[in-house]
């Protein structure tokens, strides 16, 4: 009797071990296309960003600490100094508008997100400190992704570089965690993009034109198409005139039906195909996540 129970127990033990498996190792899913991020120094309207950075050691320390934060997370950023060398300062001077230099650098960098960093010295009778302000924006829609203000402790010291380091360290993890929460939201609720629809000079149509037998205006057809083709029908119409439709925010699926990255260029192609079916020729221009459609 005892032997019977013993064999039963041994058998059960063998069966359990045969079926008990180590947890399957996490299967690696294909890495999604990552946004490019550039850390830039804060500069006022009439200031040259590169000169501001070169003249301010505290700001350089703060920018470096922010970049280091991204590096620690395994994320490489676009180097601002390297990119700014591509912009011809003389050209900017000829344009007599230094404030456009920042925009040129941002546009030429190809960065999707820029992280603006500022470092301000505070001298008081109770000690010196540095305030670091870090702000992340989507380069094309202007949407804010994360904002943090960090203060170093006060010390009776003129070693502001060390204070800048402390101030940046006090916020960088929280800043990156906030950015990541926005990325998680994008994965869940779709990529953010923007869309401008305009008409060429030779176009015989405008937003108020009734299209064929539909009985609907061109703008109404566009709105219907956006409802059906944006992620969860989400788009925000900033404004419509006879000659222009501005969608300052719309959501695109993060991936297409085949699990591939869904790019703004794909969305633009789908819109052009629709317009063609409706009898309208168009051209498209895509800058990052901003789509420009021109009806001919």
């Amino acid at each position: 009797m005892f032997r019977k129970h013993l064999f039963a127990l041994l058998f059960l033990g063998l069966v359990y071990n045969a079926f008990a498996q180590d947890p399957k190792p996490a299967t690696e899913t294909p890495r999604s296309i990552q946004p490019s991020i550039m850390v830039i120094p804060f500069a006022k309207e009439n200031q040259d960003m590169r000169k501001v950075l070169e003249n301010d050691i505290n700001l350089r320390v703060a920018v470096t600490k922010v970049k280091e934060g991204f590096d620690k997370r395994g994320f490489s950023t676009v180097d601002f100094v390297a990119k700014s060398k591509l912009v011809n300062n003389d050209k900017a001077m000829e344009m007599n508008n230094l404030s456009s230099l920042k925009q040129q650098i941002i546009e030429l960098s190809g960065a999707d997100i820029y992280v603006e960093t500022e470092a301000n010295v505070n001298r008081t009778d109770g000690g010196n400190s540095i305030t670091v302000i870090v702000t992340a924006y989507d380069a094309f829609s202007g949407l804010s992704l994360a904002n943090k203000v960090g203060n170093s402790p006060k010390f009776y010291t003129d070693n502001f570089e060390k204070l800048a380091e402390k101030a940046a360290e006090s916020i960088i993890e929280d800043f990156l965690n906030t950015m990541q929460s926005k990325f998680d939201e994008i994965v869940k609720n779709g990529r953010i993009a923007a869309l401008n629809i305009t008409f060429s000079e030779n176009a015989t149509t405008d937003m108020d034109t009734e299209v064929g037998d539909t009985g609907k205006m061109f703008s109404e057809l566009m709105e219907k198409w956006l409802e059906e083709n944006t992620f969860k029908g989400y788009f925000h119409l900033q404004g419509v005139t006879a000659t222009k439709m501005i969608v300052d925010e719309l959501r695109l699926p993060f991936q297409d039906a085949n699990g591939n990255n869904y790019r703004p260029t794909k969305f633009a192609a789908e819109l052009r195909n629709y317009l063609k079916k409706m009898g309208f020729e168009s051209t498209r221009d895509v800058q990052g996540s901003k789509i420009f459609i021109t009806i001919n």
């Binding site: 947890p23 997370r73 929280d174 965690n177």
Partner: protein
């Protein structure tokens, strides 16, 4: 009398296993400081019928709060995994092992902040100071596919 014994025995076993205080997740985790970049020092309350169990409960609470709730006042205000129920269900094998002691490689310090004593409701508890290597924990969660790496 003899016929009641099996029922009484079964009821006793049932009640004993129902009162599993080791799984109690308490909100008694407070930020103390961030001694070095990438680490966090917290005070965490834990309950248990024995001192070692209460200490383990406190340590598990510290990690659970960091991972699923966030720690106000620290740089980890946001949870690493916002949806606790879904995460625990999807990665049950990982978290079962983790909270049974798998967190120890990421725990740099665990020392008593209070004595092991009965609290207000008579339950014995202890408060531990727990220092966690957040960077290493994050990398482990990423390596095991529990969280995504930074980015999309």
């Amino acid at each position: 009398m003899k016929s009641y014994l099996p029922i009484l025995f079964s009821l006793t076993i049932l009640l004993a296993t129902a009162c599993n205080s080791a799984r109690t997740i308490s909100g008694e985790v407070n930020f103390i400081s961030a001694p070095e970049p990438g680490t966090v020092l917290v005070s965490a309350g834990g309950y248990g019928p024995t001192k070692p169990q209460a200490i383990s409960n406190a340590e598990a609470n510290a990690f659970s709060t960091l991972i699923f709730k966030g720690i106000p006042g620290s740089q980890q205000q946001l949870p690493m995994l916002p949806d606790e129920a879904t995460s625990r269900k999807q990665h049950s094998a990982y978290f079962d092992q983790f909270f049974k002691g798998g967190y120890k490689p990421f725990m740099m310090l665990s020392e008593a902040q209070s004595a092991y004593a009965a609290g207000r409701k008579g339950r014995k508890n202890i408060t531990q100071r727990v220092k966690i290597n957040v960077d290493a924990l994050r990398r482990d969660l990423e390596t095991n596919g529990i969280t995504r790496k930074f980015g999309l």
